[in-house]
Amino acid sequence: MDWGFILTQTTTQAIGITAIIYILAAIGLNVQFGYAGLLNFGQVMFVAAGSYAVGVIVLTFDLSLWLSILVAIIVATALALLLGIPTLRLRADYLAIVTIAASELFRLSVRSIAFKDTLGGAQGLNGKLGQQFHDTNPLPADFQSLPVLSWTRQDLWVVIVGWLLIAAFTVLVWLLVRSPWGRVIKGIREDEDAVVSLGKNVFVYKMQALILGGIIAAFGGIVWAVAKQSVQPDTFQPDFTFFAYTILLLGGAARVFGPIVGGIIFWFLLAGTGEFLGQAIQAGWIDFLQATDVGNIRFMLMGAGLIALMVFRPQGIFGDRKELALDAR
C-alpha cells in the first residue's frame, strides 16, 4: 500500500479539473438555490450548453474558441429564460421535477440523430476543441510536473485558469449578495409574499438569479470541453446536478465559500476512497471486491453521505442553520 501515492493522487483530484467543473456548477447553484431559493435540478443543462457552445463553434463551424465563450453566455441566458418563464412561478417540488425533466430533454435532444451533423449525435464532438486556449500556455515547454501534484503542462494551465475563474465568480457572488440585489433575492427565499408586498417584481429577480447561476455553470462546461477536448452528451446526466448539490450542501449553501470548500472535500473523499479501495484490492487486503466495483462503491458512499448530511447537518460545514430554512412549502 503506497500511502504517499494515494495522498498525492487524491490531492491532485481534489483541486483538479473535474473538481473545478463541479465547483463552478455549484457556485451557480449557490446563487440559484442558496440565495434565491430556486430548487433548480437541471443545472447540468447549463454545463452541457457551455460545452456544446465550444464544441459547435470550434469544431462544427471552425470559428474562434473565444467567440464560443460569448455564445455560451448567450445560450445559457436563452436556456434560463426558456426554462424560467414556465417554471419560476411553480412550487418547489414542481420546479424540481420540471427542471430535471428539462435537463433530460436537453440531453436527449442534443444527442439525437436529427442533429448529428451539427452536434455529433450520441458520440458527441471530439477533436482539438481547446487548441487555441492551450496555445496560450505560458508554462515553459520543457515543464515536467509540479513536485507533488501530477498534472501535465496542459492540465496545469487549465487548472490555473479554472481557479482564477472560480476566484472571479466567488468575488462576484460576494459583491452581489451584499448588494441591495442580494438582499432582495434572499428576501424572496425567506418570504416571497413579503417581497411582493414591498413592490418588487419577484419573477424578474428569480429570473436574474437563474440566468446568473446558469452562466457560471456554463463556464464549467467551457472548462470541461477545453480540458477534455471532447463533448459527450451522456456525461450530462441528472446525476451531475445531484453531485453539484452534494458539494454545495457539504460546504454550506448560502455561503460564499461553500461551493469551494464543499468541492475540495467532496473530491478529496471521493478520490481518496477510490484510490484506497483500488490499492487495497490490488494488495489483496479486500478479496470480496473487484477493481471494477470501486466506482459503484464510491457512488454508494456519496449517496449515503448526502443522506447523512441532510439528516444530521443540513446547513453543511460552514452554513448557518438560521439562514437556510430548507422547508419552504
Partner: protein, 431 residues
C-alpha cells in the same frame, strides 16, 4: 388520417437488450449478463419470417451468422460493447418481400448500452421504393399496434405512478427514489429466479418482500424519524435523491451493469389479436396490473383505511383530530406504494429486461404521468400514465424513436404552464 402509401409494411426490429423502448417483437432469450442483439422479422401480413440470415461482425474479428427461428426471431451474443456491422442476407428473404430502403441491407451499429434500436421496414415487392419517409407512411394496423403497445406500457407506468402519488398525497414527499423501488422489485424477483425459484412463484414473493422491507421498513427506518424531527420537505426530497443513488449503485454492485432476463418466459413469440400482436406474458401482466389498479382504487374509495388515506391526504391535522392514526395510514400507504412499484419492476423486467438503472430511466416518465394527471390524485396517476404511455409510443410515428421520451417531457412542461394542477387535480396553488 394516416396515408397508406404502398403495400402493407412489416417491420424488422433490431434491439439491443438494453433498450428502454418497448420493442414490439424484440424479446431476447435468457443470456444473463451478456450483451445480446435481438430482433425479429415480420412479414407485412404479420406472420413471422423464419430462416433469414443475418451476419453480425466487428473489427476485432468477431463474426457470427444467425438465422431467424420459427417465430421470426434471432439473437446473437456479443462479446461486449463496440461498433458492429450488421448485414442482412437479402437472398434469404422469402419471395415477394424486400427492404423498404435497400441501404438497410448493411449497416453499422454502435452497441454501448442505453437506448439502441433500429427499425427497418419490409415491404411487398422486389426492391425498395423511392421517397417517402418511413415514419410517415403508417398503416392502420401499425397505428393500432403502437396504440396497443402504448396502453401496455402505460399500465406498467400506472402501477408505479399510483404508488408515487399515494406517498405524495399522504406525506407531501416527492420521492425521487421511487424509480429505484421499481428496480428493486425486478431484481428481488431476479434473485429468487436465479437461485431456482420459478418466476410465477418468485414474482408474488418479491412483491410482498418489497412491500414489507422496502415499503414498511423504509418508512419506519428513514421517513418516520425524519417526520418526527420536523425535517422540511425539500430536505426530504434531497434525502430521497441520496437514497436513490445508494440503491441504484448497490444494485449495480451486486448484479453488475449488464441487462438480465428472467429464466422463464424470456423469448416468447407474439400472438395475433386481430389487428395487433402481443406476447402472451405482456397480456397476462397487463390484465393482472389492471386488476391490481382497480383493487387499489376500490380500496382507497371504499375501505376504512382507504378513506382514512384520503382524509390524511386532504388535511393531516384534521384527520389526526378526528381520531385517525396518521402514522398507521402512512405505513400502509408505503406498503402499498412499494408493492405496486415492485410489480411494475417485474412487469418491466419481464417485458423488457432488468438493468440497474431501469428505475431511473422511467422515473421522469412516472413524474410526467403524475403531473399530467394531477400530483397526489389516485385517478390522475392512472389516467396520466395511460396518456403518457400511449403518447410516448405514438410520437414515434413522427419523431425518431430515440426521442420519444422528449415528447412526454415536453408535454409535461406545457401542462404545467396551462393547467398546473393536472388533468384531474383540484385547483390549488402550486405556483
Amino acid at each position: 388520417m394516416l396515408t397508406r402509401a404502398r403495400g402493407t409494411a412489416g417491420a424488422l426490429v433490431l434491439a439491443v437488450l438494453t433498450a428502454l423502448g418497448f420493442a414490439v417483437l424484440a424479446v431476447g432469450p435468457a443470456h444473463a449478463a451478456d450483451t445480446v442483439l435481438v430482433g425479429s422479422f415480420t412479414a407485412p401480413d404479420g406472420s413471422p419470417i423464419p430462416d433469414v440470415a443475418v451476419t453480425v461482425s466487428n473489427e476485432d474479428g468477431f463474426t457470427e451468422t444467425i438465422t431467424s427461428d420459427a417465430g421470426g426471431e434471432f439473437s446473437a451474443v456479443l462479446p461486449g460493447g463496440g461498433t458492429y456491422q450488421i448485414d442482412l442476407d437479402v437472398s434469404t428473404l422469402p419471395a415477394g418481400i424486400a427492404l423498404e430502403k435497400p441501404e438497410d441491407e448493411s449497416r453499422s451499429l454502435l452497441v454501448l448500452g442505453g437506448e439502441k434500436r433500429i427499425l427497418t421496414k419490409l415491404v411487398e415487392g422486389e426492391g425498395g421504393g423511392s421517397g417517402g419517409g418511413g415514419f410517415i407512411n403508417v398503416t392502420g394496423d401499425q397505428f393500432l399496434q403502437l396504440l396497443f403497445d402504448g396502453l401496455l406500457f402505460g399500465v406498467m407506468i400506472a402501477l408505479a405512478a399510483l404508488g408515487l402519488n399515494l406517498v405524495f398525497g399522504t406525506t407531501g414527499l416527492t420521492n425521487f427514489s421511487h424509480g429505484d423501488l421499481v428496480t428493486l422489485g425486478a431484481f428481488t424477483a431476479l434473485l429468487l429466479n436465479l437461485v431456482g425459484v420459478h418466476l410465477v412463484i418468485a414474482a408474488p414473493i418479491a412483491v410482498v418482500f418489497c412491500a414489507i422491507v422496502f415499503g414498511w421498513g423504509q418508512n419506519r427506518v428513514l421517513w418516520r424519524p425524519l417526520r418526527r424531527r420536523k425535517t422540511g420537505l425539500i430536505a426530504m426530497m434531497i434525502i430521497s435523491i441520496g437514497l436513490a443513488i445508494v440503491l441504484r449503485y448497490s444494485v449495480a454492485l451486486f448484479f453488475g451493469a449488464a441487462p438480465q432476463t428472467y429464466k422463464q418466459y424470456a423469448g416468447q413469440s407474439g400472438i395475433s389479436l386481430g389487428p395487433v400482436t402481443a406476447t402472451p406474458k405482456a397480456l397476462i401482466l397487463a390484465v393482472l396490473a389492471i386488476i391490481t389498479l382497480v383493487v387499489v382504487v376500490i380500496w382507497v374509495q371504499r375501505s376504512r383505511i382507504g378513506k382514512a388515506t384520503r382524509a390524511v391526504s386532504d388535511n393531516p391535522a384534521l384527520a389526526s383530530a378526528t381520531g385517525i392514526d396518521v402514522e398507521k395510514v402512512i405505513s400502509v400507504v408505503w406498503i402499498v406504494s412499494a408493492g405496486l412499484a415492485a410489480f411494475a419492476g417485474i412487469y418491466l423486467g419481464m417485458t423488457q429486461n432488468s438493468v440497474w438503472n431501469m428505475g431511473q430511466r422511467i422515473l421522469l416518465i412516472i413524474f410526467a404521468s403524475v403531473i399530467l394527471g394531477g400530483l397526489g390524485t389516485v385517478y390522475g396517476a392512472i389516467v396520466g400514465a395511460l396518456v403518457v404511455g400511449v403518447f410516448i409510443n405514438m410520437t414515434s410515428l413522427i419523431i425518431p424513436t430515440e426521442m420519444k421520451t422528449v415528447g412526454a417531457l415536453f408535454v409535461m412542461i406545457i401542462i404545467l404552464m396551462i393547467r398546473p394542477q393536472g388533468l384531474l387535480g383540484r385547483r390549488e396553488r402550486v405556483g
